[in-house]
């Protein structure tokens, strides 16, 4: 089947098999591998994207469900003027090690700061608790969120 969706501000079409997740279609059919597949059951947050502005795990959304909707992935955050402030903060604060969780955390953080521009540490922990990171122990990720909130 053919679906149409708005990804990062662009109208795209894809021929998909009905069982394919939004994550698979983004990664394998639309050439956007920034969203990561680490668990495929909504536990790790590595595939976090915005669907009509709401944070979702792309692995739990069928591509067909996204037809006609707006999707923003990590690739769509940076603007013409450069990195999104959250991206710049993650790089500067040392919040990145292996980086596999980073795209999901960057999208989740951007979504958090959109709703709550000055979150407390508890609010940051709560908002990021659906995104697993195995490398950092999270401290520098919290630093990055605060750094981004201040910019």
């Amino acid at each position: 089947m053919r679906i149409e969706l708005d990804v990062n501000g662009e109208q795209l079409e894809a021929d998909v098999w009905a069982g394919e997740s939004l994550l698979y279609v983004l990664r394998e059919r639309l050439g956007l591998p920034g969203s990561k597949n680490a668990c495929e059951q909504g536990e790790c947050g590595s595939c976090s994207v915005l669907l009509d502005g709401e944070l979702v795990c792309a692995c739990l959304v069928l591509a067909a469900q996204a037809e006609g909707h707006e999707v923003v992935t990590v690739e769509g955050l940076a603007g013409a003027e450069g990195l999104h402030p959250v991206q710049a903060a993650f790089a500067r604060a040392g919040a990145v090690q292996c980086g596999f969780c980073t795209p999901g955390l960057v999208v989740t953080t951007a979504h958090l700061l959109e709703r709550n521009p000055d979150p407390s540490e508890d609010e940051i922990r709560e908002a990021l608790s659906g995104n697993l990171c195995r490398c950092t122990g999270y401290a520098k990720i919290f630093d990055a969120v605060k750094l981004a909130a201040g910019t």
Partner: protein
């Protein structure tokens, strides 16, 4: 020759916090991990795995799978072109099972198809007839059961002869008088479950045939050259026709030392003459790599009235699972570090690893020292209680110092500031308890805790740990680096660094670049070439906390040689002219331990050591059995911090993995079958579980290492499990001799 360009060279030398060279592509999503690779005409590979922990294979029928839509190849052991077995240290593992499977998830057959779902569906049509056999699942009973490997792959390698069935290795360290008595004696039996590395990027890679019978494999791994040396014989190819290239690695922690998809992907690609990509899903990843050895440890510590350790006796039993992997080295490490960073006159340390039909175990961050630190530090607290001495004071009284002798007879000639890390850690102020009532997010169990905190008790624990840096026992370990110096179009002098050191997230790419910037202060720019077997000799493994030391040593040597050559040519290069020099760095040589006594046969069996001390404040809800780790302070011996921000990141992340083992992480098995192979059921610490870590870096230069550096990744993981459980014991008064500690072990005081 250009003028010295101050702009670039003011930044990024050794000792400075420098943003990761891969930070920007990683935050934008452009960085290509091994699962992100694509090639035109690419097929998807899938692995058929054993549903049994132990079975005889009666027959394999692929006839229903071959004609399925999209299928391009279906392969079994009969299709392995060369050697049918491989292994990281001993070739005891079949590329594809032949007549027997020895663990749940063992690879049996391969499929390549146009779409991953087609490959999965075809795989389900492969009919494998098994005759189930009784699985060997208890490490103690394994020593009297049928041999899983009757040819005893690890015997004849200079290890102690142990005739009992299923022994991978036994190591005995006898030091002084093992029967020496003390005034006080404490004992205990300790147990650790199987921990998984749980790196987020699942095993994956892309194999591309070169059209001439050779193969290029792009894969997430920890040691490119040792992969090549295992893959090539199985493909019946000369090593140079197998080129391994590092693809983006989504974490490793020891779990990528052994092969995963490398041979399988190459077999499918060579058979179909098309690129083949294999990506494991999370469930498959849990059976796709080795784990941390579960252990049972019997310990007795004897001390005099002043708290000086007189004798340590410890028996360590490790379950290695179905294949050897790096179990022999883990066995040795467990014994070598069993006494902790303490001076002990007399010791009897026996460490045995056995084959079973449980999940195979091998390298994971901390490598044998994690298990014995958990037992040994619990013993030190018992001893402190028995003597009425403060636990920190007891540790100070016994702290190892340079000049002391280890139980293996090795004299400490390098740096090991045990007393200093203890003092520095103990001096970090512990915060006052959070008052009650408080927001549920700061109660044990978080928002799931519906009480007002009436059952919360607080405990403070302290632990110290140490382990080796680098490969041990005579292993001929080296790292190569190549530096190419040339002029760019604008006349600037550029150094290009080639080193096959695997960037697994730890930040070694920055180390390579920072060292080159430090040593070649004449250049305008430093470039980092791709990590590959194609252009440079081996870097060794990104493991054993060795890579920063070894690769900085190698790059420094190559830079010095380049600089000397440049000077010989008058200090400048003409356009088009270049200098290209490769150098090999070796650390001080080690020699084996005596198989009978476990004593050194030369000056040293281990290259060097690093230690850490940690204090943990934990709160336990004794009604619900839930835990909140409220605060962690640590002081770690790092030699010299080449990139302080990255060092802190290693300490924080390494600590989190130890917190996980203490509180939640365990691969659960039933008759050898893994029952929790998902992130729903295998839990790792989240942003709600980890406190911030207050870390002090103790920079005591290692005399044998470049810049005085030490590896920093493992000590925090070694010490944190012990420190967390010490805090839980202080809160509850319970013995808590097994990790992970479960709610039922804490509830109902």
């Amino acid at each position: 020759m250009s003028a010295p360009p101050a702009r670039k060279l003011q930044l990024g030398r050794v000792g400075e916090t420098v943003q990761r060279v891969d930070a920007i592509p990683k935050v934008t999503g452009e960085f290509a991990f091994s699962s992100d690779l694509f090639a035109a005409g690419m097929l998807w590979g899938h692995t058929v795995r054993s549903p049994h922990a132990h079975a005889r294979i009666v027959s394999i029928d692929i006839s229903q799978a071959v004609p399925m839509p999209g299928v391009q190849a279906v392969l079994t052991h009969e299709d392995v072109p060369g050697a049918k077995h491989y292994g990281l240290e001993f070739p005891d593992q079949p590329v594809l099972a032949i007549d027997r499977v020895r663990y749940f998830g063992e690879p049996v057959a391969l499929v390549a198809a146009e779409h991953p779902e087609q490959a999965r569906r075809a795989a389900s049509r492969i009919a494998v007839e098994y005759e189930p056999l009784e699985p060997i699942v208890d490490a103690e009973r394994a020593l009297a059961q049928e041999e899983l490997h009757p040819n005893r792959p690890t015997s004849g390698h200079g290890y102690r002869e142990d005739p009992r069935p299923n022994v991978v290795r036994t190591m005995v360290v006898r030091h002084g008088d093992p029967d020496a008595e003390g005034d006080v004696s404490v004992s205990g039996v300790y147990e650790l479950g199987i921990q998984d590395q749980a790196f987020l990027g699942p095993e994956s890679g892309l194999a591309i045939p070169d059209g001439e019978g050779g193969i290029d494999i792009y894969v997430a791994t920890q040691w490119l050259h040792v992969d090549r040396d295992q893959v090539a014989p199985c493909l019946d190819l000369e090593p140079e026709r197998v080129r391994i290239h590092l693809a983006g690695v989504g974490g490793a922690f020891g779990g990528r030392e052994d092969l995963s998809m490398q041979i399988h992907g190459a077999m499918l690609a060579l058979r179909t003459n098309r690129p083949v990509k294999i990506v494991y899903n999370r469930q498959e990843s849990f059976v796709g790599h080795i784990h941390r050895h579960p252990a049972r440890i019997w310990a007795e510590h004897r001390a005099d009235r002043d708290g000086k350790l007189k004798c340590v006796r410890m028996r360590i039993l490790l379950d290695g699972g179905a294949y050897a992997s790096s179990s022999t080295a883990v066995t040795s490490n467990a014994a070598s570090f069993a006494c902790g960073p303490y001076a002990v006159e007399n010791a009897l340390l026996e460490s045995t690893c056995v084959y079973t039909n449980n999940p195979p175990c091998g390298a994971m961050r901390g490598f044998g020292a994690v298990q014995t630190c958990f037992a040994g530090e619990a013993q030190m607290d018992k001893l402190a209680a028995a003597l009425g001495v403060d636990p920190v004071e007891l540790r100070l009284r016994n702290a190892l110092a340079p000049g002391d002798t280890l139980p293996t007879g090795q004299k400490l000639t390098g740096s090991l500031p045990v007393a200093e890390v203890i003092r520095r850690c103990a001096a970090i102020p512990v915060p006052e308890p959070d008052g009650l009532p408080r927001d549920a997010i700061r109660l044990p169990g978080g928002s799931g805790n519906v009480t007002r905190g009436e059952g919360v008790r607080r405990g403070v624990g302290f632990a110290v740990g140490f382990k080796n840096i680098g490969y041990s026992e005579g292993f001929d370990d080296y790292t190569a680096a190549r530096v190419r110096l040339f002029t760019d179009r604008s006349g600037g002098l550029v150094a290009e660094v080639h080193c096959a050191a695997a960037e697994v997230g730890q930040g070694v790419s920055n180390v390579l670049v920072q060292v080159a910037r430090t040593e070649l202060d004449i250049v305008d720019d430093v470039l980092l070439a791709p990590h590959t077997t194609a252009t440079v000799d081996s870097a060794g493994s990104a493991s054993a906390s060795r890579m920063t030391w070894m690769s900085s040593g190698a790059v420094r040597l190559a830079c010095a040689a380049v600089r000397e050559e440049l000077d010989r040519r008058g200090g400048s290069l003409d356009p088009g002219e270049e200098i290209d020099i490769e150098r090999i760095y070796r650390h001080p040589r080690t020699t084996p331990l005596d198989p009978e006594t476990g004593q050194v046969t030369g000056e040293r069996a281990h290259v060097a050591f690093a230690c850490a001390a940690m204090r943990v404040v934990a709160e336990v809800d004794t009604e619900l059995g839930l835990v909140r780790v409220a605060w962690i302070g640590t002081a770690q011996d790092v030699g010299k911090a080449l990139n302080p921000q990255a060092v802190h990141g290693q300490i924080e992340g390494g600590t989190a993995q130890g917190v996980g083992l203490a509180l939640m992480e365990e691969i659960q098995t039933e008759d050898g079958l893994i029952t929790n192979a998902s992130f729903t059921d295998y839990l790792i610490p989240t942003a709600l579980d980890m406190p911030r870590v207050v870390a002090e870096l103790v920079e005591d230069a290692e005399p044998d290492a470049p810049y005085g550096v030490k590896g920093v990744g493992e000590p925090p993981t070694v010490v944190s499990t012990a420190a967390v459980v010490a805090a839980l014991r202080a809160a509850t008064g319970r013995e808590l001799a097994r990790v992970p500690v479960r709610p039922e072990h804490l509830a109902g005081l």
